[in-house]
């Protein structure tokens, strides 16, 4: 029983832990931590591939101040992120959004990985379940005769 279901249970535990780590609320972050988090998610509008947190461009400095102002004004992280998407479009985000069509970017690799793993499991099981050849009475008699011949030769 454990031998049969063990790997599946282990896989389930790994998936649940991974989901819990990813989806678990981060709790009450400090304003500075929230600002830092948002700054790393937004792309510097006038740089190539740099986050607002990593850039010293004037717009990035202005965005950093603006994020702090918005947090102080009581806006949620989602509201702040959305305000920048409204202003600059999706291209302001360093990573694709995890909603709408963009969600596929996150889901499809997992689905492909799961399908691949399932395929491998089925392939291994099919290999294991291949019928083993059983010796017939005729085979047994043949082997016995060969042994007798060997004994005669040795004796």
């Amino acid at each position: 029983m454990i031998r049969r279901w063990g790997p599946w249970i282990a896989l389930g535990v790994v998936v649940v832990i991974a989901l819990a780590v990813v989806l678990w609320p981060h709790g009450d972050q400090s304003s500075a931590a929230r600002a830092q988090d948002l700054e790393t998610q937004l792309k510097c509008p006038e740089c190539q591939g740099l986050s607002v947190a990593d850039s010293q461009a004037p717009t990035s400095r202005a965005i950093r101040s603006d994020i702090k102002r918005r947090i102080a004004a009581g806006q949620s992280d989602e509201q702040i992120r959305q305000a920048y998407i409204d202003k600059y479009g999706d291209s302001i985000l360093l990573a694709p959004e995890d909603s709408g069509v963009s969600l596929l970017v996150w889901i499809l690799p997992v689905v492909v990985l799961a399908l691949g793993a399932t395929g491998i499991v089925f392939a291994l099981r099919r290999n294991r379940d291949e019928p083993h050849l059983r010796a017939t009475d005729a085979d047994e008699r043949l082997v016995e005769r060969e042994h007798r011949v060997e004994d005669t030769v040795d004796g």
Partner: protein, 180 residues
């Protein structure tokens, strides 16, 4: 489950089809191009209240009722320098139009350098400073030069990131005048 391999193959095929559909739907969506487009066009122009070079203020309300060209620039930017003759020519052609205004908003520059540039190049249009980069942020600028056409009613009619030709400036002005 008699044919698990077939089910897996079917699922893989389904994923490939979904990917194909997503790709087909997104053909033509150039993220680079999208990053350069202003999302302000068709929306109300952000209000601003900025200092000018002579200690006064420049506000959006000052140009209400006029077709307005707003140009973000600074004195050290090479593309701004390339654009300068077109701005001069365009401004000379329209400075006496009663329904026209032009404002240059300085992004990231020293006031002294701006003053020198304005004097040396005989810049006639209104110059505003943006020391906190708040106007640049409100307009969602991506650098300089960046130009906006604002209608008399205060709507952004056109926007471009990069140097403008005098022909493009004329098109922007026409768009601003035609817009509500």
């Amino acid at each position: 489950m008699k044919h698990p391999a077939r089910i897996v193959a079917l699922a893989v095929a389904l994923v490939v089809v979904v990917l194909g559909v997503v790709l087909a739907l997104n053909v033509g969506n150039d993220p680079e191009q999208d990053a350069k487009q202003s999302h302000l066009v068709g929306k109300a122009a952000p209000a601003f209240d900025l200092p000018n070079l002579s200690g006064g203020r420049v506000t959006l309300a000052d140009v209400a009722g006029k077709a307005t060209i707003v140009n973000f620039w600074n004195s050290w930017c090479i593309p701004c320098e390339q654009e300068a003759p077109a701005l001069q020519q365009f401004y000379a052609a329209h400075k006496d139009d009663s329904d026209f205004a032009m404002i240059g908003i300085v992004r990231d520059d020293a006031t002294g350098d701006v003053r020198t540039y304005v004097k040396d190049n005989d810049v006639g249009w209104t110059i505003a400073l943006d020391p906190q980069n708040q106007a640049a942020l409100d307009f969602a600028t991506r650098g300089q030069p960046e130009t906006y056409a604002i209608s008399p009613g205060g709507t952004v009619a056109a926007a471009k990131y990069g140097p403008m030709s005098s022909g493009e400036l004329e098109t922007f002005l026409a768009a601003a005048r035609a817009s509500e």
